[in-house]
Symmetry: C2
Subunit: 711 residues, 2 copies
């Protein structure tokens, strides 16, 4: 394998391209790709390749790529699957930088071996593969449309990376009619070599790309994706649409962390943590693209709704709550700003209702007032078609104000609701790249996504909270279990690891006789609980082998004797090792805290409402690890039951810092101890003031270790 | 006041209409209303009224309504507000049936008195008022467009009732360009007389109306609305859009039921209970209207997705989970049905992926297979624009199959994603009243709303669960408190009412001395808890006035003496009435159960997760009362924590029936005892097997009673 891989830049900005499988037959993809490259106005050199020769779209056809006496950066391959390997081989040997394999019929239909062979061959020569099973690549900066799409994208500032070729083709058409201009659209297909992260490396610094939209179906190297996405969102907004939210294939893992993490919630949490905006459907994603790409960053959160109809104003208020848009609330300032254009039966409160009598002049005055006021940072302007205001005037008013707001550095979104004239106005504005929506919810959703991105960008957490751990000691305990062919730790082993990590667990020890029982109890401190220790007695309660809330020496003596007697009666043959004496743990708010090594995303931490509520309320939240302490606190604040930690009904605040420490500790153990795959504390009791206690701890060992040792 | 009110039919089907304020000036509403009536093709007689005389749109103008020698059913009034009363009076005296007051400037700007005067005058003569502050009325059956809208609606099967005139005007335009045909559109404005419920009485039996869409901002007579909506949904689908979800004006009521009920959740729950589909925004509501009005009722729940692209297929699967569309899952049957049109690299599993190679023929075969299979009840067909299938062919394929499915009695929805050709196809189909969507989420949302309606309609609960109560005895207790100027009951009073209603409460009594304390404890049964009873000691725990978990006579004696001693030390001047001895209530699943008299909707019942989780998890659900027992059980099943009642971690099922009884009992008390406004049990402990216990009960008394007695 060659040491050096080609700069990804040449995939998007090739100086010469070839098409292997170019065809004169207009029903073939091999024709459309050449035709699109030529008619798209590509400025570099074009080499159609086909053993039959001739010419296509005015370009001479070469029989073989070897015949081309030029350096070729990108080759589009459209020959049938069985000929692809040979084509790739000839390209690789010629020193081509990128092969864009449009042909399908590989891993997606189970033909994994052939795909691997192709990639291996390319790698040996330092060539990289896009696809297979793709529609190709469009790159605005070099006017390259090396796809078999029926139309050409409009040039613009949005780059699209899609895993689905079919959907991507649809997107080329859809973005064109919606005047959503593209800087690039690329499909990654089977991702045999290049994946989203590789393409992002080019798109992140590229100036023409203002915003990146990605359609994802599955993630392979999640840790790489996290790194690249986090880097991307520092520079520009990224919108991700991921299908498979309802995927039923997830296998219930051994721990809660595992099973809950299998859900879409983990992906969702990670995207938020990376500052990515996650759209639910294509329409929503494209709406956001249009608006965010065209909007300046907001100078603050205070948003004003200006409307000519009360009904749509109220709906926009509802939508603002849904999409977390902060409505400006200073009544006196609002009154001063808008009173000039608000009749008595209108309202200067936010939503500002300038009433159905408002025409162009009133909208201009109101919009100017908001633009010029330093405490108003963004406007959602609504227009409901009336008999008074004509829609032709409306278009120019919207265009003029959009320009003013863009120049003034404040976001402005318009929603226009009505008939033919309103729709025409929307179309006219969209042709000028001014996103206007017909439903107020769409407009508010866009404003909400804009704020969400910039709120993230302005508050990026850079640090990494970590703890010092004696990982060698922890690994020693884990390895001892593995040597016994055990892939989980016993309670005392798990407790030992907690102690190494400085996590408080209930004090306990095993007494072999009455004297020891009393001494242990005095050491631990009353009240204590007692449980028989015997591998022959599974159901300890049924056997009378448990005693709770023992408050003094006499009660301990009575209980010890009763337990021994009960258990002997229950199972005369049972071997009784002793009686466990443990601290009776004080009640407290119960959390579940977990960390696991995810096959896709690496170390994942979790926190949620614990105890019996875990499965029922599913009030849990996730993050990838490491993360900084502020983000750990955000994570805790995100759970619905967070108010319990703040204290309800006159309780004091609980030890939230202590809970945060636990998350960082468990994350650090998973991060640093490769033998351990899952840890879960449930419940972690969190106390008023200061103090947390890990009542129950489960630790699973890594399956990787297992295969290393036993296969 | 006249005994008889005119039949609402004549508002929608008037034989003669007049316009008071008719004008020749084309900038005036008075012109547009006449012009719309004339150009809309109204078949009845038209009488423009204006003191200046002349003629408008070819109709003679009468100076005064009295001059018209004919019976007039509807008069549109467009004169300025100050002249409206006189106009109404002249109409009323002439025997006009309905006055449709378009003019604004009444209650909506605080001019309540004038509005009341107008209504009173109309009522005296048996005339009814629509509005004021409306755009008028459009009624397809009589070709009447008595509005000042710029355009005319398309005729069709959807009736719209809107509270907002401005939004209604926008809707007239919007429905026309979206080819959403209307049977009627009416605005209710200030609802000074006629409200939504009155209009529904006409629309429910009217054959031309297939579906009703309502835009609501606020509800006055909620009980009437519930009655009429429940009647409506038995006959046809009703879609409601209600704004003000985020209304912040709700004042925190004294009980949880009150405060939580103030939220939008109550309205939402009631709409569901009435079988109403609640849309979030206009776009969603209109999409549902188009699809449901055009679709046959589904013969069952089994839905099949047929797609030519994997990506959109997966997204439709996600959307199906979101919108509760049941995907058919019999792999063998699916394979048999679709194998003929599915290439190897496609999939016959649901979503059925007939791949990008599929053209008209393949779609036809696949759609026929689903239509003809008795276990497949509905289809969502998706099409992603490809190079293979041309969009012109697509339109006729969609139209043909839509007809076949309509005739075959199965719902079919199409989503088409792509560029210009796809959009043209969507437009062509919509012109033929075939709803096709460009985003799969929109299509699936429509299918989901269709199922939701018919699932309701096929399972309407008719009965009413009630209990026998000694209301006289309950009212007696409440009246005693009112006589003491108390609007809440003391704990013992509330417990007395619970006992009358047959609700189990913890046993307790007050001991005045040591002997009584022991006797009480023996009567109640150990363990018991003890609390000092003294109005001078507020913080009983701080004073050492509480003892828990007393297990025998000796412990009771010790505790009694300690409490008396502690309290005397704590406050030597305190008057100690005695010590309350109470049963120590067993732990169990904690619910909150409530009932209250809502100013809008009458008796409302509530159930949810109780204890300290009420405010935090807000896991509560509401219903109006009375309701049948099955609906009570549905209500309990709706809360997220329902699995706790089924038993988690090896517990047995809890007494869900007992909890249901409590809901019915509390509802019945509110329904029958007018003195009581709010009851709340929190927690109600629900036990494994059989048994519930109301640990804490709060009862508030009716404010109506209070005003009657003290004002």
């Amino acid at each position: 394998m060659k040491d050096k891989v080609p700069d990804i830049k040449y995939l998007f900005e090739p100086r010469a391209v070839a098409v292997i499988g170019a065809s004169q037959d207009k029903t073939k993809l091999g024709y459309h790709v050449v035709d699109n490259i030529v008619s798209g106005g590509y400025k570099g050199k074009i080499y159609p390749i086909n053993p039959r020769g001739g010419d296509i779209c005015g370009h001479r056809v070469y029989a073989r790529i070897e015949d081309v006496d030029d350096d070729i950066d990108v080759v589009s391959i459209v020959v049938p699957a069985k000929f692809v390997f040979e084509a790739v081989k000839s390209c690789a040997e010629k020193g081509v930088k990128f092969a864009s394999i449009i042909t399908s019929g590989f891993a997606e239909v189970g033909n994994v071996e052939e795909e691997r062979r192709i990639v291996a061959c390319a790698r040996d020569h330092g060539m990289r593969i896009q696809g297979p099973n793709i529609f190709g690549i469009y790159s605005c900066v070099s006017s390259l449309n090396a796809t078999f799409s029926a139309g050409c994208p409009e040039p613009g500032g949005v780059a699209i990376i899609t895993q689905s070729g079919a959907l991507g083709l649809g997107m080329i058409g859809k973005t064109a009619i919606e005047h959503l201009g593209l800087s690039a659209i690329v499909s990654v297909g089977n991702k045999s070599d290049l994946d989203e992260a590789d393409l992002l490396e080019y798109l992140i610094p590229q100036e023409e790309t203002k915003l990146i939209f990605m359609y994802i179906e599955g993630v392979q190297d999640g840790e790489k994706l996290i790194r690249v996405l986090s880097a991307a969102t520092k520079k520009k907004p990224v919108i991700v649409l991921k299908s498979g939210r309802s995927e039923r294939g997830a296998i219930a893992a051994a721990s809660h962390t595992g099973s809950l993490a299998g859900s879409d919630d983990v992906f969702d949490a990670i995207m938020r943590q990376c500052g990515v905006l996650r759209a639910e459907c294509v329409k929503e994603g494209f709406d956001w693209c249009k608006f965010i790409a065209a909007s300046p960053p907001p100078p603050g959160d205070n948003t004003v709704i200006i409307t000519n109809g009360g009904g749509i104003g109220v709906m926009a208020t509802d939508a603002s709550e849904k999409y977390n848009v902060a409505l400006y609330d200073d009544a006196a300032t609002l009154k001063e700003a808008f009173t000039a254009v608000t009749p008595d039966f209108g309202s200067t409160k936010n939503p500002v209702d300038i009433t159905g009598q408002a025409g162009r002049a009133e909208y201009n005055v109101a919009l100017d007032a908001a633009l010029n006021h330093r405490d108003m940072h963004g406007v959602m302007a609504l227009y409901c078609e009336t008999a008074v205001f004509d829609a032709e005037n409306l278009s120019s008013m919207i265009m003029e104000n959009s320009r003013k707001y863009r120049e003034g550095g404040k976001p402005l979104v318009f929603a226009v609701f009505g008939g033919r004239k309103s729709e025409d106005c929307i179309s006219q504005c969209r042709e000028q790249n001014i996103p206007v929506f017909s439903d107020v919810y769409e407009a508010v959703s866009c404003m909400g996504s804009l704020y969400r991105y910039y709120n993230y960008k302005n508050n990026i957490s850079e640090g990494e909270a970590t703890v010092e751990l004696d990982t060698r000691l922890i690994e020693t305990i884990a390895h001892q279990a593995l040597q016994q062919n055990r892939f989980f730790l016993l309670a005392n082993e798990a407790q030992a690891i907690m102690k190494i990590a400085g996590v408080e667990v209930p004090r306990s020890s095993v007494a072999r006789n009455l004297d020891e029982a009393v001494r242990c109890s005095e050491d631990i401190g009353y009240p204590v609980v007692m449980k028989v220790v015997s591998r022959d007695i599974i159901h300890k309660s049924d056997a009378g082998g448990v005693a709770l809330n023992l408050e003094n020496k006499n009660e301990v003596i009575d209980a010890y004797q009763a337990i021994i007697q009960n258990c002997k009666a229950y199972n005369p043959n049972a071997f009784i090792e002793g009686v466990e004496i443990a601290e009776m743990v004080k009640p407290g708010t119960e959390l579940i805290i977990g960390a696991r090594r995810d096959a896709t995303f690496g170390t994942i931490v979790m926190v949620g409402l614990g105890g019996i509520y875990v499965e029922v309320m599913k009030d849990v939240t996730f993050r990838y690890f490491p993360l900084d302490r502020r983000e750990v606190m955000n994570m805790i604040k995100e759970i619905r039951s967070y108010p319990l930690l703040l204290g309800v009904r006159g309780e004091e605040k609980k030890d939230i810092d202590g809970a945060a420490d636990m998350i960082i500790k468990l994350g650090s153990i998973i991060q640093n101890c490769k033998t351990i795959s899952d840890i879960e504390i449930n419940p972690l009791r969190v106390y008023e003031g200061k103090g947390v206690k890990a009542v129950d701890v489960r630790i699973l060992l890594s399956k990787v270790e297992r295969s290393n040792q036993h296969e």
